[in-house]
Symmetry: C2
Subunit: 222 residues, 2 copies
């Protein structure tokens, strides 16, 4: 009982801070993406392809979240894009306070787009708003098409589902129709893209999606 | 600070209860396996193959842990093996107390082996002892060979790492040597098996490993 109360207090503090971050991002006209998924669904690979495709036309920065290691930040750093690694230690998710501190490493005024790669975890990050415009959940075709039903909060709170590693479809029992049906049963409005970083399939659609998001952030309504 | 204190208290209560469960399992001479991994690494598939291979010679029961759905319990029930599904709601791991309650659904005296399939999560379950004899962590070859370094607690606390879905190796950049090196850098004594539920590779070794574990539980030392 005390545990639940404390959890609610932490979440409510996080929500307040996330709302402040959202205001700040809006003011600076920076689009912000929060990438979430299981470990190993291909978040960093998709991020690398995104930077390859868009870093000439957009000013992008990246925040990497992991329990340990700066492996992902190193992978991103070679692209020349500014990147900051957060190591959460034993925490299974990023929180708005960590993002607020990480912003000291960037000049928001110069950015079009900030991409946050969350800790690989289909449970905990769902409850923590980071002030993002877009929460994208990846599910790779090797994980099974039932994942939305088993981890509903994550698929319920995302605006976009990326079905990744579709080049492996012929080697799995994964049904794209089933994963779409499962995701939409929880979240009827969720957008869906299918990608493969190995073949390049779906990457132009993904890039176009991001360009539209950045465009909306430059000309916010209201 | 209050959060850390509360977490310690919950963990210490869990450890006490897990120790009681371990005593009970020892007394009843039941071997207990706790299977952990990312979502979609193939725990349920390996479990199905295990029951197929061993349920004629061993008396086995299964506890399934998921946030939502009884999908996995249904998959196991068709094998005829007794199974109980725990739905954790929003909790990212199983706890000893949940196992204690689930035991009401089985007659421990009649069992050789109890297999617990934990919630798919590479972070949270690492801190919660369930009284098991063997903690086995699966890592599928599509997840990347750096996973032990990024989720060290899980690989540090497991006695066995199963590298799963090795049939997909030709379609990935995964290095089996690298994942072994990474796991052993954290846990030098960790045992390693490579399996594919599609081709059957490694399953005889896995079954043999389990038979030895059950044999040790029947004739405990001391």
């Amino acid at each position: 009982m005390a545990n639940i109360k404390l959890e609610k207090k932490i979440l409510s503090r996080n929500d307040m801070l996330a709302a402040e971050l959202r205001q700040q991002f809006l003011k600076e006209r920076v689009a912000v993406i929060n990438m979430v998924s299981s470990p190993g669904s291909g978040k960093t690979s998709l991020l690398e392809k995104t930077l390859e495709g868009l870093s000439r036309e957009l000013s992008i920065a990246v925040i990497e979240g992991d329990l340990q290691t700066a492996n992902d930040a190193k992978r991103i750093a070679v692209t020349g894009v500014p990147v900051h690694q957060i190591n959460t230690g034993s925490a299974c998710h990023l929180e708005a306070e960590m993002i607020r501190k990480a912003l000291d490493h960037f000049n928001l005024k110069d950015l079009d787009l900030l991409i946050i790669e969350n800790v690989g975890n289909l449970v905990c990050p769902s409850a923590f708003d980071l002030g993002e415009d877009l929460r994208v959940v990846l599910v790779s075709v090797t994980e099974g098409d039932d994942k939305p039903l088993k981890y509903p909060a994550m698929f319920h709170t995302a605006q976009l589902m990326v079905v990744s590693k579709v080049d492996l479809l012929p080697h799995t029992d994964f049904s794209v129709d089933a994963v779409i049906e499962n995701a939409r049963s929880l979240n009827p409005g969720i957008r869906i893209l299918q990608t493969s970083c190995r073949t390049g399939e779906g990457l132009p659609d993904w890039n176009q999606f991001i360009l539209s998001l950045v465009e909306s952030s430059r000309h916010p309504i209201g």
